[in-house]
Symmetry: C2
Subunit: 146 residues, 2 copies
DNA sequence: CCTTGACCTAAAGTTAGGTTTAGGTCTTAT
DNA sequence: ATAAGACCTAAACCTAACTTTAGGTCAAGG
């Protein structure tokens, strides 16, 4: 069992954030001894999941919902499975989106490389995808399509 | 030349958002005819870049900085190139992070699939990575390492 | 003529996810 | 005995990125 300060250290999260999570109901049924929070293995695993779901873009209130399902036991396994399946689709879509953004940025890196060399954008203004290097053309078209 | 309403349609952005962007200085030197904004090709390209940079996680004030560099002309090519190079690293790191999150979620999908079948978590509680299917073991270890 | 609809501004309001503040308790080291 | 250092709460504050509101201009259609 750990104190809030120890958990803060372990996860690199401010104490105030851990208290905020608790206030928001992300640790349902957490123990206390004379008012002081006691983080057990259950809460540590909860925190790992919280970090993962947060990075996946889920909001606190939905994470709370999930934690409540966990507290309810085996009857909610299907709900939890559906949640992760939905989240998987969302994250896969997000990664695809980011790859398109990355291609746009790669194109811009190349563009300004040329602009720096030329000293102006005249040549670039006239350039069509087929005049670009293969790799850049690919990035340009992926970034601009649809 | 387009009105704010036409641009709103074209980009699927609320008119209020376009006005907000303008207020924040994202269209330096945009024309007006008797008070009414006139969006030209310059502003449309600016908007495409704004969408890209926003998705890459850049804040409005930094996008404004970039737009001011664009307005200043060829002397700022190096600054703009550096900006995109930095942004490229950031997005690449973000994609890596998302892939780890995705592996954690894949593991959880599998986990709850098993839990639903078993009706409890007893078997899962005893399971070590080497007992997991190859693909899941990989995801689990990628998601939990470091 | 007068109403509708697109445009405008300034300013206030909203939301998420925290952080900070102010005041209090408890334990431990000097 | 007192001062430092963890812990606690409630409530106020913060920031980014919008959105909403309230009030106004102007052109076209019935």
């Amino acid at each position: 069992m750990y104190t809030i300060g120890q958990v803060s250290e372990m996860f690199g999260l401010p104490v105030s954030t851990l208290r905020y999570y608790d206030r928001e109901g992300l640790f349902p049924g957490m123990e206390r001894s004379s008012g002081i929070r006691r983080f057990g293995e259950k809460e540590l695993e909860a925190l790992r999941v919280i970090e993962c779901l947060k990075k996946s873009g889920m909001e606190i209130r939905d994470i709370k919902q999930f934690m409540e399902w966990c507290a309810r036991g085996s009857e909610t396994y299907p709900l939890r499975r559906e949640l992760f399946l939905r989240q998987k689709d969302l994250v896969e879509a997000e990664i695809q989106r980011m790859n398109r953004v990355l291609d746009m940025i790669r194109y811009k890196c190349w563009y300004y490389e040329q602009a720096v060399r030329d000293g102006n954008e005249e040549r670039l203004a006239l350039m069509r995808p087929e005049d670009m290097p293969e790799e850049i053309k690919r990035a340009y078209e992926n970034a601009h399509e649809k």
